[in-house]
Amino acid sequence: MAIKRSRMVFKPLVFITSLLPLGWLIFALYSDTVLGTKYMTADPIQKLDRELGDWALILIIISLTVRPLAEIFKKGELVAYRRMIGLFAFFYVCLHLSAYVGLNLQLDIDEFIKDITKRIFITIGIITFTLLLPLAITSTKGMIKRIGGKRWQKLHMLIYPISLLGVFHFYMMVRADFTRPSIYLAIILVLLGYRIWAKRKKSRPKKVAAA
């Protein structure tokens, strides 16, 4: 019961928190338009694109921290919020891609196709998006049942290469200052390292584990 009640509080909280970056971007654009502020700079097309991509990556990273946190602090119920965070990450990826094609390329599809085929960092971005699709589609309870828990889990391990591809997409876009993507990469490597460590620990003979 206690778990259910806390979920009733925390689910909306996670939901609203995940929408805050988007809310901020909308407010910033509104304020720049009406009040003449420059939150989104004089080049909001670029700024919006970067911000959306950044938040997509941050949410992917947060979704990866859920399991380690749940296991380390023995709070299994945290896993209940992971799906929502993952779906929001996908949501921001979709917005990021839409902003790129709609606002930056201004729906120039020829240019978009050229981008995908000629520019590796865009190719990687599109691959990342494509790999996220099956994860988003199979995120419902019904789908988990249909696929079967084990296979579903295996499928969703795709998030590991996705997180790496996402951060490489970021790396390849940067012109000079690699601080931010480096921080993201370091965090991702720690989080993936944790999984390897946890798996090794689990697969050790029971005797040792019991001792």
Partner: protein, 325 residues
């Protein structure tokens, strides 16, 4: 007889801020900010701490870019690539107040009859300052139109009497992490260096810019003296110059060192040669207006040599521009 009619929106003489109060304004705001704890506010708040602005007394108007719609003063001072002050577009306007453009010395070295150290005034005093509206096309596919105040570089170069060995002109930016906090990190290989072939440097379009909008150069735009080569991508326009050398061989250029595949020595604006990571066919014109207007503003077509082909095409006759990009 001059009849002066007063409108309600006119500024009354009593409303005009005295120069002292104006110059002290920043100090006042900073003090107030510290007292009120506003220093914890997000950085964009501090970007409204505008630096004092000084007009040049005698600037000759020219016909360059008369018909162009200019980027606003705020637009061109709040959106900058000047990694010496940070890699973000708003970092320069936030951090450039650390730069002291006065006094300023430029060292002239290399193959010239007159070399040595010259003050900013030594360099500009003998010349007539002129205003030219130039398109500035950044390699990142955005552009502005900026009313520069400056002197044709050719006029300055002639005074130093370069010898026949001077085939190129090399430029160097100040290195001082105290004044340029972005240099505390190695985002680029400091000092920022750039170069031009002698005939490019002597082209009448090439400008030594010392200001914008009739005023002294804002720090974030490369105070006190910077290069403007309007037919080349913006990064060729090296800022806050402390050294000019007349050299025999092609000098190094910072972005070319950073990524030779992406940025050539020439870096002439060319919509037919894509940057490896993006198309150069179109550009986002930055007018200074932000928000939805800018978000949905249609992109414009990038012109060959940024629209200055007539004046500069002869410089590259017979050269394979795909090879010498």
């Amino acid at each position: 007889m001059l009849i002066k009619t007063t409108k309600a929106s006119d500024v009354k003489p009593s409303e005009i801020t005295s120069k002292d109060a104006f110059l002290n304004r920043r100090k006042f705001i900073q003090t107030a900010a510290i007292v009120s704890g506003a220093s914890l506010l997000p950085p964009f708040v501090s970007s409204s701490f505008a630096a004092a602005r000084t007009k040049y007394p005698n600037v000759k108007k020219t016909a360059y870019g008369e018909a162009e719609k200019l980027t606003t003063y705020d637009g061109l001072t709040e959106y900058n690539n000047f990694y010496e002050f940070g890699t973000g577009k708003s970092d320069p306007s936030r951090n450039a107040h650390n730069l002291k453009p006065e006094p300023w010395t430029v060292e002239i070295t290399g193959h010239a009859a007159k070399t040595g150290k010259f003050s900013f005034d030594d360099i500009i005093k003998p010349h007539q300052l002129e205003e030219r509206n130039y398109r500035l096309r950044c390699v990142e596919a955005w552009s502005m139109v900026i009313p520069w105040v400056g002197i044709p570089l050719a006029d300055i170069i002639k005074r130093f009497e370069p010898t026949s060995k001077a085939k190129y002109v090399a430029f160097e930016t100040l290195v001082d992490p105290k004044q340029m906090p972005g240099q505390k990190r190695n985002a680029l290989d400091w000092p920022y260096v750039e170069g031009l072939r002698m005939d490019e440097a002597m082209n009448p379009l090439t400008l030594m810019a010392v200001g914008v909008y009739g005023e002294h150069m804002p720090n974030q735009n490369g105070a006190p003296i910077r290069l403007i080569v309007p037919w080349k991508y913006g990064f060729k326009g090296i800022k806050s110059i402390v050294k000019i050398s007349f050299v025999e061989k092609q000098p190094p250029a910072t972005w070319n060192i950073q990524a030779p595949r992406e940025y050539g020595f020439y870096s002439n604006v060319n919509p037919n040669i894509d940057h490896p990571r993006w198309s150069q066919k179109k550009e986002r014109r930055i007018t200074g207006e932000g928000g939805l207007t800018a978000l949905f503003a249609p992109k414009i077509k990038t012109q060959f040599m940024n629209g200055y082909a007539e004046e500069v095409a002869a410089l590259y006759k017979g050269m394979d521009l795909k090879k010498f990009f």
